[in-house]
């Protein structure tokens, strides 16, 4: 076997997770090799041509605050921006953008190619190599690539099967192959694998759509960008359109359920409940008269539109009939048919909160391989895995993000402590500290961490420091300026008063940037609640600091209830906080576990 030069980090897969892993490793100075089956597919948007949305938009900003790529790629290729939940509280607002699909890939590829310390190689991985409890590298056919750390971010490609009606082909994305050797290799290494399903809708030729009867949905006049470094749009902006299914659409689906892979048993794995196929929607919500469809433009110089809301794996002729039953789409021409994909994943209780596998030092998993769905979820994990892969290669301590620090922290903690039984998507309601994890303060929360780790360039840090000073100045101004005996700060804490109201009265406020003004105002609005949550965060941090040794034998802890022993053995939590979040482990079990740890610590500390 030929041996390739030693790498610090090898990233397998150049999707949304892979490129963030490579970028983070590169920033930390790790010599990094990215192996992908197709360089032209870098950061492909396999599903809808959009970035962000509720909870996801916050995550994109977090990625940006930690020096990641996603925000900048999205801003460079966005063709429509919307701030969701504009009428609701700041903690549940989030930016979303339609992007030009082709340009997104090109921009991502260009950024990836230009990362210092990073090499790209188009190859198919045939095995993960390990010795004892350490990863050695990966193998592509007859070549061994050695590395200190390996990040697997293989997306939906492991033993992937595409379904369109009765037709089944091997592949992780339409027109591309599957990576089956990696599944076998992971099994040989002792990992257990599960299987999940996801799907896409058909895409149409815009020239065949009658837009005249469809409601237009245009973007915001004043875009909210993803990246803290962006300040203008670069592409012309476009609109989406809204259409609806009807009785006829529903009858077509119902009449053809015997040909739907989801109902015939052809697809056995679980799909996401929050993103059901049109056939699932119609069966499960039979009483609903219509379902909303969004026609999203694929880009500025293509005629393709993405029919969001009609994910399906029904046969081609049914897809055509179904699409054409919709008002406005009577003569629509399908350019690409919808399909479902089934793929292997590694149930994520097998990785720790650093995304390193518990089994092999130096082997990291990120993205859909951990059972998640969504570009943003993948990117967030890729970033964390890339950071830790580099730190590991440099012999340094790995890092984690807390549930109170970032949605990325919530995501990873949920994955490793609870596992998944459907593709995992982030919601704001998953975060108990939702008021803290806002899109507007992602930089305040995470840039200091990014700076400490060495992920930020000087320009980003200086911009951050400027904004932080501004926010402090605004808060001072609001605290000391009195109006009729009460401070502006106090007035602002009333729900019906907005910072814009105050700015109208006190033009001095407008001398500061809008971002800083809004951030200061939102901090003040939530201050009371946040203070209350601090105590609970303090407790959580304390129990997070209570580490559980990795060699603990739960079966030997006879004082624990049987169920608790089983659950703890299955999840093998890193610390007491995680242990407490495992379903089926109760507070009494945690007490016993803590006491055991103390006893054990005291025993080890005793001189021989």
């Amino acid at each position: 076997m030929t041996e390739q030069t030693d790498w610090d980090v090898i990233v397998v897969g150049a999707g949304h997770a892979g490129i963030e892993a490579a970028a983070a490793a590169s920033r930390l100075g790790a010599r990094t090799l990215v192996i992908t089956m197709n360089i032209d597919s870098t950061a492909r948007m396999s599903c809808n041509p959009a970035i962000g949305g509720l909870a996801k938009g916050q995550m994109v900003r977090e990625i940006d605050a930690l020096g990641g790529l996603m925000g900048r790629i999205a801003d460079a290729t966005a063709i429509q921006y919307r701030l969701l939940n504009r009428q609701k509280g700041p903690a549940v607002r989030a930016p979303r953008a339609q992007c030009d699909r082709a340009r997104y890939t090109l921009a991502a590829r260009s950024m990836l190619e230009n990362l210092p310390n990073v090499a790209l190689c188009e190859e198919t991985v045939t095995a993960i190599c390990a010795r004892g409890r350490r990863v050695l590298g990966i193998q592509c056919g007859g070549t061994l690539y050695r590395a200190h750390s390996v990040v697997l971010s293989t997306g939906t490609f492991l033993r992937a099967v595409l379904h369109i009606g009765e037709e089944m082909v091997s592949g992780g994305r339409r027109g591309e192959g599957a990576a089956s050797a990696i599944s076998d290799s992971l099994k040989d290494l002792g990992f257990s694998l599960g299987r999940l399903k996801t799907g896409t809708p058909p895409r149409l030729d815009a020239r065949s759509v009658d837009f005249s009867g469809l409601a237009e949905q245009s973007g915001d006049d004043e875009p909210v960008f993803f990246s803290f470094s962006s300040n203008s749009t670069t592409l012309p902006q476009a609109s989406c359109h809204v259409a609806f299914t009807n009785d006829q659409t529903h009858s077509i689906v119902r009449d053809n359920l015997h040909r739907a892979p989801l109902f015939t048993g052809q697809i056995k794995s679980t799909g996401p409940r929050y993103c059901p196929s049109i056939e699932t929607k119609i069966v499960r919500f039979a009483q609903k008269e219509r379902h909303q469809l969004f026609l999203e433009p694929e880009g500025i110089d293509t005629n393709e539109v993405y029919l969001n809301g009609m994910a399906t794996s029904l046969p081609r002729d049914v897809q055509e009939a179904m699409v054409r039953s919709v008002a406005g789409l009577e003569s629509a021409v399908i350019t690409r048919y919808g399909y479902a994909v089934e793929y292997d994943f590694v149930p994520p209780t097998q990785v720790s909160a650093t995304l390193e596998t518990k089994r092999y030092r130096g082997l990291f998993l990120a993205g859909q391989i951990n059972g998640t769905s969504g570009y943003e979820e993948a990117a967030g994990q890729g970033l964390l895995a890339g950071i830790n892969a580099a730190l590991r290669a440099q012999g340094l301590e790995c890092v984690t993000l807390g549930r109170h620090e970032a949605y990325i922290g919530v995501l990873v903690d949920d994955l490793v402590t609870k596992g998944v039984d459907e593709p995992y998507r982030m919601f704001t309601s998953r975060a108990e500290y939702r008021l803290l994890l806002r899109y507007d303060n992602a930089d305040m929360r995470l840039m200091p961490i990014g700076k400490r780790l060495g992920l930020l360039d000087d320009a980003s840090w200086q911009r951050f420091e400027r904004k932080r000073r501004e926010v402090e100045d605004i808060k001072d101004f609001l605290a000391v300026t009195l109006a009729g005996g009460t401070s502006l700060e106090k007035r602002l804490s009333r729900p019906e008063i907005s910072i814009d109201d105050l700015a109208a009265e006190y033009p001095a406020l407008t001398s500061w940037s809008r971002d800083a003004r809004d951030l200061a105002a939102n901090d003040i609005k939530y201050a009371g609640y946040v203070a209350r949550q601090e105590a609970s965060i303090g407790r959580m941090k304390k129990s997070e600091a209570e580490r559980i040794p990795s060699d603990i034998d739960y079966h030997a802890l006879r004082e624990l209830r049987f169920e608790a022993r089983e659950k703890l053995e299955l999840h093998r939590p890193d610390n007491i906080a995680q242990a407490g979040r495992i379903p089926g482990v109760n507070p009494a079990d945690i007490s016993i576990l803590l006491m055991h740890l103390r006893r054990r610590a005291a025993c080890t500390a005793r001189p021989l």
């Binding site: 809808n48 949305g53 509720l54 909870a55 969701l84 939940n85 609701k88 509280g89 903690a91 549940v92 979303r96 996401p272 409940r273 929050y274 993103c275 059901p276 929607k281 499960r284 919500f285 609903k288 379902h291 909303q292 969004f294 969001n308 809301g309 919601f427 704001t428 309601s429 998953r430 108990e432 939702r434 008021l435 729900p495 019906e496 609640y529 407790r539 304390k542 129990s543 209570e546 004082e559 624990l560 209830r561 007491i576 407490g580 379903p583 109760n586 507070p587 009494a588 079990d589 945690i590 007490s591 016993i592 803590l594 006491m595 055991h596 103390r598 006893r599 005291a602 025993c603």
Partner: protein, 464 residues
């Protein structure tokens, strides 16, 4: 969670001591909480013993002696304040309730000891015993879950929680799935649901008996004529393999008392024979014991010598026990003639223990041979689990932890109601509701997020 830093409180007086009652607090807020009820606040100075007056919100001040032990020196290695007050149970209960209003929470079984251990105060040898106590507590919980009263509680609290999850699904779907459906819950409906749930919880709390108010155990008093064999039975029960004896420092004992775990229920077993006063005072003291048992013991085990015929002493003593939840125990059955046993059965059949428990009313036993001791253990446990004990007028049996959770949920719902009223924003209403639902989930053992998602996805067709 034992890693939290709440201040905990419990009555720490051993059973049967009438003259003095001790309420003990441990935790960072202990000094602050007690100080609020004193004329002059406690200072974290060098003193240890303070004579002062304690004023509760609904009583005039009364004299107490306070022992202040600062973190590092105390048993738990946290700030500890002991309030030594007259030993009247209603007064102790009032102190307890005042301390809780001011921010302390009821201690869980073995929690002082657990904290002492976690803070490195007690040595390794004791760790095993502490774990066993905690485990016993949790097994009792599981057992209780099967009992009728607890089952009712779970069902009732589960129903309230279910309604809240239903409303929460509306609110959260309205926040998280704005792109998919237009979900809007009118404030009026939110307010009605929240108020309905709060009222239901308040009702559960007001009709609940708190299990094991004192140190979280049920008290069982062995009581009856001299030489009936109470001490032998005590030794059998206390020495049975499942028994756990927990030493609580800072308590004194005037008579025999043991903490035992019988069928998953923790009992403080009190042997009234442990006192050996001058002979002429036996009866009077025994009667006083009985009166005390009437006030705070949960079970009385009335023990007689079955080999002797019922006499006036037995009759007089039984008069004071018959109105209490009790069992009748015919000891020395190995020596007794069938007609003696029949006579005792007749003695007890007149308005006797059948009132408390028809199934276990009269037990035949021999402490000498061990015969029937298993039945006694089962009967004592059943008295508690079956709800025959001190629960008059109560519909639900809850423990301190559950009470804390229910009160926490109620407070959160009141805040949620205010959020709706002031139109503070759905994300803030949701914050309080989540707090409430999670607290109720700790009573019913349900997981917040998976339930919420199930509710959202079963009702709303979300996802593009």
């Amino acid at each position: 969670m034992s890693t939290d830093d709440n201040t905990i409180v419990a009555v720490a007086t051993p059973r049967g001591r009438a003259a003095l009652g001790i309420v003990r607090l441990s935790g960072g807020e202990a000094l602050r909480i007690v100080s609020e009820c004193l004329d002059r606040p406690l200072k974290a100075g060098s003193f240890r013993r303070v004579e002062s007056r304690l004023t509760l919100s609904r009583t005039a001040g009364f004299p107490v002696v306070l022992y202040v032990m600062l973190a590092g020196r105390s048993y738990t290695r946290e700030d500890v304040v002991e309030i030594h007050a007259p030993g009247s149970p209603p007064l102790l209960a009032a102190i307890l309730s005042e301390m809780r209003t001011r921010g302390a929470r009821l201690a869980e079984p073995g929690e002082f000891t657990r904290r002492a251990f976690l803070n490195g105060r007690i040595d390794l040898a004791q760790a095993e015993a502490v774990m066993a106590i905690v485990r016993a507590g949790s097994e009792t919980e599981e057992r209780l879950a099967l009992s009728a009263l607890k089952g009712d509680l779970s069902r009732r609290v589960g129903a309230v929680r279910g309604e809240l999850v239903h409303l929460m699904a509306d609110i959260e779907a309205g926040l998280d799935f704005v792109e998919d459906e237009d979900i809007f819950v009118p404030p009026e409906r939110q307010r009605r649901s929240i108020e309905g749930a709060a009222a239901a919880l308040a009702q559960v709390l007001s009709t609940s008996a708190v299990r094991r108010l004192y140190r979280e155990e049920a008290a069982a008093v062995l009581y009856g004529p001299a030489n009936a064999g109470k001490s032998s039975i005590f030794n059998l029960l206390a020495g049975s393999p499942s028994a756990i004896v927990e030493d609580m420092p800072g308590t004194t004992r005037d008579f025999l008392e043991a903490a035992v775990d019988l069928e998953g229920v923790r009992f403080i077993l009190v042997d009234t024979a442990g006192i050996r006063p001058p002979a002429e005072l036996v009866e009077q003291i025994a009667l006083e014991q009985s009166e005390r048992a009437a006030r705070d013991a949960q079970v009385v085990a009335f023990v007689v010598d079955a080999s002797r015929v019922p006499d006036d002493t037995a009759r007089r003593l039984y008069e004071s026990a018959r109105t209490l939840p009790h069992l009748a125990i015919l000891n020395k059955c190995d020596l007794a003639q069938p007609r003696d046993i029949a006579a005792w059965r007749r003695f007890f059949s007149k308005g006797g223990p059948a009132q408390a428990s028809t199934r276990h009313g009269v037990l035949e036993l021999s402490a000498a041979t061990g015969r029937g001791i298993d039945d006694l253990e089962a009967a004592l446990a059943e008295m508690v689990l079956g709800g025959f004990v001190n629960l008059s007028g109560s519909r639900y049996l809850i423990d301190a932890r559950q009470q804390t959770c229910l009160e926490h949920a109620l407070a959160a719902l009141e805040r949620a109601g205010r959020m709706v009223e002031t139109a503070a924003g759905d994300e803030l209403t949701a914050l309080e509701m989540r707090d409430a639902i999670e607290a109720l989930g700790r009573v019913t053992g349900e997981d917040y997020f998976s339930d919420l998602l199930d509710e959202v996805f079963s009702r709303f067709c979300v996802g593009k």
